[in-house]
Amino acid sequence: MAEKYEINQTEVWDGNYAAAHALRQAQVDVVSAYPITPSTPIVENYGNFVSNGYIDGEFVMVESEHAAMSGCVGAAAAGGRVATATSSQGFALMVEVLYQASGMRLPIVLNVVNRALASPLNVRGDHSDMYLGRDAGWINLDAFNAQEAYDMNLCAFRIGEHLDVRLPVMVHQDGFITSHTAQNINPLQDEDAYKFVGVYQPVEEMLDFSKPVTYGAQTEEDWHYEHKARQHSALMRSTRVIDEVFADFKALTGREYKRVESYMMEDAEVAVVALGTTVETLRQAAKELRKEGLKAGVIAPRCFRPFPFDQIAEVCGDAKAVCVMDRSAPGGAMGAMFNEISAAILATGKRPLVTNYIYGLGGRDFSVDEAKRIFKEQKAHADAGHITTQIQQFSGLRGPRLGFFESKRS
């Protein structure tokens, strides 16, 4: 039996350490990992906890991230509770196996400490890695601060392992800004956390010798499509379980989470949509702007996958201008989240002025002042009744103004 870890009601932890404690409290059986900045301390601390007797588990050191996720797939198929962490290039190397994990319906929890993708090499935070894995069939939860990195990990096990879901879950946190920023955290005591997560229930586990199974079968055109459809259906329908788990978590901790987080959207005239720590910086800006009379609101998909298509449109309300911020180089298109939010709004009868900002690449600072400027720009669109800038712009970029596409709307 693992030793109890003494925890204060308030701890000052960074996002990585908070996530590592969540893995410890969930008593993860196997972490197969190849550490990479800035996610390293998560798996490093898991190993530490195992060595010091705080977890009955095993840390498996492998030779690459591809092998790390392969180890996770093997251990999960064998019937264990499994988790790991990675970032950036490591995530990119994992991608092939991410699809295997979701296709095999293995509820692995992957902490993605978001970091830019090279080249040029960069260790700091942006969402390139998150966007790279968005079609991999995983549930994607996004934490905006260290407390949430802890909370989302506990929820991730409950959601992914639910018998109606059985899908792997990524928990995203911003590299350095969350992962290496220590803040006040209110963790649960070990027994309460474990009780919330629950005892792992294996499904079709390979180590059940009374029922031998084959994982990783080949299916050609006669089967593949049906299997992928069933997987997609499970992912889309996981929303019910996600809502239930969030409700249970609120009952336990008082901390409320929703698949779409909205801030002062009830009467918002202008709104900005973002992910990660930027959400909180935007809230700070919106709060200050409200004092100046600007009805600003913030929208954030807590659950990036399954994408809350219907709820996004709902929270947009009667906003006249909506700006979607993508922290990933769009590679020859509008930002990915801009496209998804635009499509969600288009499915309603409403036609707010929707624009796109690319920002924060490679960890470029996003300040409260810049957030305020963007809100005010939305107000200018709303007052003019049309988009007064190009549709895609770049925030915090040096050099001549960069932007693409003019609005043809009048």
Binding site: G103, P212, V213, A217, E226
Partner: protein
């Protein structure tokens, strides 16, 4: 042949002739069960005694793929197990290191068993599929004398 008897019992289907079902009926995570019921004791059972699941390739036959077949002659065999080791389709039936015959449901007629048989004459020989085994055995060749240098 015991292999042939087992075929009738299991009701073999042609490999590839699965029942195609809709997306809501396919297995969870493409996980395939190998056996029906409790298989905790499976290692102590012979393949004839095991109850394989419909998804197990053992319940499918490739007999029709064969143009020529190996025929086994018990009178000459020395039970060396060479054919059992080399057969790529585990179609040599052997129990307690005693050769019993060919599993004609899964043999594709590749002839490897004949190639590796060390007896003189060989204890396994290839015949065209239409030839009855009794008839094949009656045509078995004599022992070859070693040619002197």
């Amino acid at each position: 042949m015991r292999g042939a008897a087992a075929t009738e019992k299991r009701g073999m289907r042609e490999l590839g002739a699965e029942k195609l079902v809709g997306w809501d009926e396919v297995t969870h995570g493409v996980v395939i069960n190998s056996f029906e019921g409790d298989a905790a004791n499976i290692a102590s059972l012979t393949s004839e005694e095991r109850i394989y699941s419909d998804f197990n390739s053992y319940t499918a036959t490739v007999a029709s793929w064969r143009v020529v077949k190996p025929v086994y002659n018990r009178d000459i065999c020395i039970d060396c197990q060479n054919c059992w080791v080399w057969c790529p389709d585990t179609s040599i039936i052997s129990r307690d290191k005693q050769m019993l015959g060919i599993d004609y449901d899964h043999c594709k007629g590749c002839g490897v068993c004949v190639e590796v048989c060390p007896t003189n004459p060989k204890s396994l020989l290839m015949f065209i599929e239409a030839e009855e085994n009794d008839s094949a055995l009656s045509q078995w060749p004599e022992k070859k004398k070693k040619e002197k240098e």
